[in-house]
C-alpha cells in the first residue's frame, strides 16, 4: 500500500464520543447480519467502515439513524447511545433522530424537484428558516459546502434529476448538510463518481470533519486511508478490528484485517 497517502491529521486526542454502541445485533428475519458489535464513534472525526461485500457495513450504518426501521424484517438488539441517550428508547422519535443524524446513500437519489427545492426540503420541514432570504442563504451555503454552487447557481430552478451522476451525488450531500445534522452517515458515496468528483467529495468530507462526525462506508482502501482517522473492519457480521486508520493500515492486529487490506480476502 505504498501509493496510499495516509491522512496527515491524526485523531484529536480530546475528541468526544458521539455514538456509544454496545452489543449491537441485527437480524433480518431469522438471518443474523450483525453480531455483537461494540464501537465508539468519535465526534469531529471521519470514521471509515471497510470489509468485504455483505459483511454488514450498511446494516450497522443504518442502525445509527434507525433507517432499519423501514425494513419490516429487520430487528435491532443492543444499545446505541447518541451523546448518552439510547436512540432505540421509546421516548426517541426516529424522525427527530434522523434530523440529527443525516445520511447520504450509495446511489444518488435526488427528488424530482428543482435543485433549490431539493436542498431546501429539509430546512423547510424542520422550520429552520424564518423567511425566503434565510432559506436562500442556507441553500447557498449547503451547495457551496458540497462544491456544487458554481455549477448550478444559474439554474437552481431546473430539476435535480437532470444533473449528471456526480452532480446528483453532491446535490444529495448538500441536501443532507442543509439540515445541519450532527453526524453524517455516507454509504459508499463515491461509487457512482468519476475520480474528479470523488476527489471533490473527499475534500468535502475532510471539511465536514470541522463540525460533524462523519461515518463513511467504502470499498476503496485508498479512500479509507485518505479521508478517515479511524477505521473499522467488518467481516461476516463481526466487527473484527477498530482503531486509528494509520494503525489499521500499517500494523493490523488481526490476521483477517491483514489479509483483507493486502487483498487476499474479499
Amino acid at each position: 500500500m505504498d501509493d496510499v497517502r495516509l491522512a496527515e491529521r491524526g485523531v484529536d486526542a480530546d475528541a468526544k464520543v458521539k455514538f456509544e454502541c454496545r452489543g449491537v445485533q441485527v437480524h433480518y428475519g431469522e438471518k443474523q447480519a450483525l453480531k455483537d458489535v461494540d464501537a465508539d464513534i468519535l465526534d469531529r472525526t471521519v470514521t471509515a467502515f471497510i470489509g468485504p461485500s455483505g459483511c454488514g457495513k450498511s446494516t450497522f450504518l443504518r442502525c445509527l439513524n434507525r433507517m432499519n426501521d423501514t425494513v419490516a424484517s429487520a430487528r435491532v438488539d443492543g444499545r446505541i447511545l447518541l451523546e448518552g441517550e439510547d436512540i432505540y428508547d421509546a421516548r426517541v422519535d426516529p424522525v427527530q433522530l434522523r434530523a440529527r443524524v443525516g445520511m447520504v446513500f450509495q446511489k444518488p437519489n435526488p427528488f424530482p424537484k428543482s435543485i433549490y427545492d431539493n436542498v431546501a426540503y429539509g430546512p423547510k420541514i424542520h422550520g429552520m428558516a424564518r423567511n425566503k432570504a434565510e432559506l436562500d442563504e442556507i441553500v447557498e451555503r449547503a451547495l457551496r459546502g458540497a462544491a456544487l454552487w458554481n455549477e448550478v447557481k444559474d439554474r437552481l430552478g431546473e430539476t435535480g434529476t437532470g444533473l449528471s451522476g456526480g452532480q446528483q451525488q453532491r446535490l444529495c450531500i448538500a441536501r443532507a448538510v442543509a439540515t445541519a445534522p450532527e453526524v453524517l452517515l455516507m454509504d459508499e458515496p463515491c461509487s457512482a463518481l468519476d475520480p474528479i468528483a470523488t476527489a471533490q467529495v473527499e475534500e468535502l468530507i475532510d471539511d465536514l470533519r470541522e463540525s460533524y462526525s462523519v461515518v463513511i462506508v467504502t470499498h476503496s482502501m485508498q479512500q479509507a486511508a485518505r479521508v478517515s482517522q479511524r477505521t473499522a473492519f467488518f467481516h461476516l457480521g463481526n466487527l473484527v478490528e477498530y482503531g486509528d486508520t494509520e494503525q489499521i493500515f500499517t500494523n493490523p492486529q488481526d490476521p483477517r484485517t491483514e489479509s483483507y487490506i493486502s487483498g487476499k480476502i474479499g
Partner: protein, 401 residues
C-alpha cells in the same frame, strides 16, 4: 361439404404435410440432420404452412365475398373443393421443394412474419374502417343539417316529422357535468385507497384489499345502472332533493355521477397504486433520512414523483366516464337540458346515440344520421383525452427508466 369439414380436411392435410416434409428431409439427408440447412422440424412446418395458409385464405376471401356471390349450396361446394385442391397442390409443391439445401427456416419465418403483419393490419384496418364510416355518415348528415346549428345549438328536440333542432350543446353539457361529478367521487377516493394500499397496508392486507377493490371493476355497468335506478336515485330524491326543494326526479345528474364515480374507483386506485409503487424506494429513504415523517414523504416526494402518472390515470378514467352509457340511461334520464342543478335529469351524447338509432330507422333523415355526428364528436373527444393521457404516462416512465 360444409365449411367446417373443409377446414378439418385442410388441417389434416397440413398435419400430413408436416410428417411428409420432415420425413423427406431426413431421408434426403440420410438420417443426419447436420446435413440439412435447417433443423428437420422446419421442413415439416414449411410443408404444413404451404398446404394450410393459401387454402384457408381462400376460404376467408370466399366468406367475405359471400354477399356478392349467387347464393346456394353449389357455390359453397365449389369453394370447398377449390380450397382442398389448393391445399393438396401447396402440399405437393412444398414437398417437391424439400431438399437438404432448401432454406426451410427462413421460409417458415418469413411466412410467420407475413401472418403477424396481416393480423396487425386487420386491427388497424378495422379502426380506420370505423372512423371512415363515421366520417362518411357524418358528412352525409352535415349536408342535411347545418353544422353551426349542430355544434352551437342549445336545443335538442328531434322530431321525425321534420323541423328538428339538433344542437349538441345540451348533450355535451350533460356528458361533462356527469363525468365531472364522477371524477369528483372517483379521484379522491381512488387516490386515497391507492396511497393506503401502496404506503400503509402490510403485504397481507394489501393482497386482500387490492383484489377486493378490483372486483368492482368486473361488475357489468348495467348492474351499476340498476343500482342507480332502484337505490341511489330514490335515496337522493327522498333525502336530499325533495327536502331541499331542488327537484323531485329520481333520475338526476347526481345519481348517475355518484354511481359512475363508484365504477371508476378501482380504475383510479389500481393504476395509481401501480404508479406509486413504481416510485423507487431510494427516493422515500432519501426523504426519511432527512428527518421527514412518513406522511410528509408521501405528500412532498412520493405523490409529486408519481403525479404525471396519476394524472394519466385520471384522464383515462375521464375518457371512460365520457363514453359510459348504461349508468346514464338508468341514472340520469333522457332529458336534454342545460342546467346547473345537479338534481335535475339530464342526458349525454351516448344515450342520445342509442335513442336516435333505436326504432324505425330511415338512414336518409338527419334525425338518424345525427347519431353518427354525435359518435364522431365523442370519438374525437375521447381519442384526444387518451392520446394526452398516454403522452403524460410515457413522459413519466422516462423519468425512471
Amino acid at each position: 361439404m360444409s365449411p367446417f369439414w373443409t377446414i378439418v380436411a385442410i388441417l389434416a392435410l397440413a398435419a400430413l404435410g408436416y410428417g411428409l416434409g420432415r420425413r423427406r428431409a431426413m431421408s434426403l439427408a440420410q438420417g443426419n440432420p447436420r446435413r440439412l440447412h435447417s433443423r428437420p422440424n422446419y421442413y415439416g412446418w414449411n410443408v404444413a404452412l404451404f398446404a394450410a395458409v393459401p387454402a384457408l385464405l381462400l376460404l376467408v376471401l370466399w366468406a367475405l365475398a359471400l354477399p356478392l356471390l349467387p347464393h346456394g349450396a353449389a357455390s359453397s361446394r365449389a369453394a370447398g373443393i377449390l380450397a382442398i385442391i389448393i391445399a393438396v397442390a401447396g402440399l405437393a409443391v412444398a414437398v417437391r421443394r424439400t431438399t437438404p439445401e432448401f432454406r426451410a427456416r427462413n421460409a417458415v419465418e418469413q411466412m410467420i412474419r407475413g401472418l403477424l403483419i396481416l393480423c396487425s393490419l386487420i386491427a388497424i384496418a378495422t379502426t380506420v374502417g370505423i372512423v371512415l364510416s363515421l366520417v362518411f355518415e357524418s358528412l352525409h348528415f352535415f349536408r342535411l343539417y347545418p353544422w353551426q346549428d349542430f355544434f352551437f345549438g342549445t336545443e335538442w328536440t328531434p322530431r321525425f316529422g321534420g323541423g328538428s333542432r339538433l344542437g349538441i350543446l345540451p348533450l355535451l353539457w350533460g356528458t361533462l357535468y356527469i363525468s365531472f361529478i364522477a371524477l369528483l367521487v372517483a379521484v379522491p377516493v381512488g387516490l386515497y385507497a391507492a396511497i393506503y394500499m401502496s404506503e400503509y397496508a402490510t403485504p397481507r392486507v394489501r393482497s386482500l384489499v387490492k383484489p377486493a377493490i378490483e372486483v368492482l371493476a368486473g361488475i357489468p355497468t348495467i348492474v351499476y345502472g340498476l343500482f342507480a335506478l332502484v337505490t341511489v336515485g330514490p335515496l337522493l330524491r327522498d333525502w336530499i332533493a325533495q327536502p331541499l326543494g331542488l327537484g323531485n326526479s329520481g333520475s338526476s345528474v347526481m345519481t348517475a355521477g355518484l354511481v359512475m364515480g363508484m365504477m371508476l374507483i378501482p380504475f383510479v386506485s389500481s393504476l395509481s397504486d401501480d404508479i406509486i409503487n413504481a416510485v423507487p424506494q431510494t427516493m422515500r429513504d432519501g426523504s426519511l433520512a432527512l428527518g421527514s415523517t412518513h406522511s410528509e414523504t408521501i405528500r412532498q416526494v412520493v405523490i409529486p414523483a408519481a403525479l404525471p402518472g396519476i394524472v394519466g390515470a385520471i384522464l383515462l378514467a375521464a375518457s371512460r366516464a365520457i363514453g359510459e352509457t348504461m349508468i346514464v340511461v338508468m341514472g340520469a334520464g333522457a332529458m336534454a337540458t342545460i342546467s346547473g342543478n345537479p338534481f335535475e335529469a339530464m342526458t349525454t351524447i351516448t344515450v342520445k346515440i342509442v335513442s336516435q338509432l333505436t326504432g324505425d330507422n330511415d338512414f336518409s333523415s338527419p334525425e338518424t344520421l345525427v347519431a353518427f355526428a354525435l359518435g364522431l364528436t365523442l370519438f374525437v373527444i375521447t381519442l384526444g383525452l387518451n392520446i394526452f393521457a398516454l403522452y403524460i404516462v410515457r413522459k413519466y416512465r422516462e423519468q425512471y427508466e
